[in-house]
Amino acid sequence: MLTCTAPVHRVSTLAEALAQRAAHPDATVLAGGTDLMVFLELGSVNPPAILDLWGCTELRGISEDGHTLGALSTWTDVARHPALPAALRDCARTVGAPQIQNRGTIGGNIVNASPAGDSLPMWLAMDAQFELASVRGVRQVPASAFWLGYRKTALAADELLTRVHLRPHADDRLHYRKVGTRLAQAISKVVLGARLRVVDGVVTEARVALGSVAPTPIRAHHVEAALVGRPLDAAAADAVAHDIAPIDDIRSTADYRRTVAANVIRAWLRDEAARSPDR
């Protein structure tokens, strides 16, 4: 039984949502509820009011070219969208299980800012831009500047995450890998989101992002530096030892995470090298 009796402000347009956000900065935003309802049930949050965005259809849906995703797009929407990169659609299908994917939104995953949020390394790898809006105006924040600390984001008290913008490049290859205890309903031990561009046999751009190995999702800058400007070499994976300092917790040990993070990067690089030996 959930005993939360907070009043709920419902909105159906973005303008209304921003006005309500400004009027009630202490209200907690509700999207699909798959994180928030659990916190309410556990009693770990007790908001004075709720701002329910679910009816705001403007923020739901993905543009035909797959370049703009409304914050209320669900994981099922992502998984079924033909223009989105296969790796992002794979990621969507690993969030919880179908009932969670039918309700959980990309915006909720991004703003909830769990270090184990499965999509977060993917947005980093894709250099996604997050559109943050308030009655004051709209600004774009790159994913790399959004997660500031443990569950701390760049979102201001009167702002909402409204859209995610992607600028895919035809030569880019994107990769997603989640390591958990089972395929469904598993909180990740290590998540990898990665992107590679190889031109004339030389890596010209690399993004390697990891989740569940630090208080925020992180870029593995040492691995990226070891890759760029050279022919593809899986040994670059070893540099991840300089990028992460994971912890022991109930899901895994620091040692396991360090080893597995290097292994999943190495496996990805080997697969990429095998796919196009001459590029």
Partner: protein, 163 residues
Amino acid sequence: MIRFTVNNQDVSVDTPPMARLLDVLREGVRLTGTKEGCGEGECGACTVLIDGVAVNSCLVPAIQADGCRITTVEGLEADGRLHPVQEAFLKFGGAQCGICTPGFLVTAKALLDRNPHPTRAEAREALAGNLCRCTGYQKIIDAVTEALAAPPPAAGTTGEPAC
């Protein structure tokens, strides 16, 4: 007042807006077929359809059901006849203790509405959010993949949500 339809009946309930749809259905509407297992989205025992889409009713606040079309396990039979997937659960022994069964049936109905002849892999993926501690799943997958193998009586409708 929150208004919605449950199994094609209009319902209005006086409830705090953040009450769980699960509790509203069980206590307010007295439809106790929908079960609570974990209460945190892990087990799928509380699965219902909102506008044809399978969701965990323990994670949906009542306010988000306002104006929607809800289907619970009680709504699967039509004209006194069980839904084919219910018949298949009987035939293949897909239920033992029964607590997870309503959630499996409702999730399976949503799958079959979209994909009448799922492969075993498709059925496993669709049912990955439903936990069963008795059957070992094989008989459930048998039932779901075989449910519409025979010429079907008219099944329900498909629908993508606006809600």
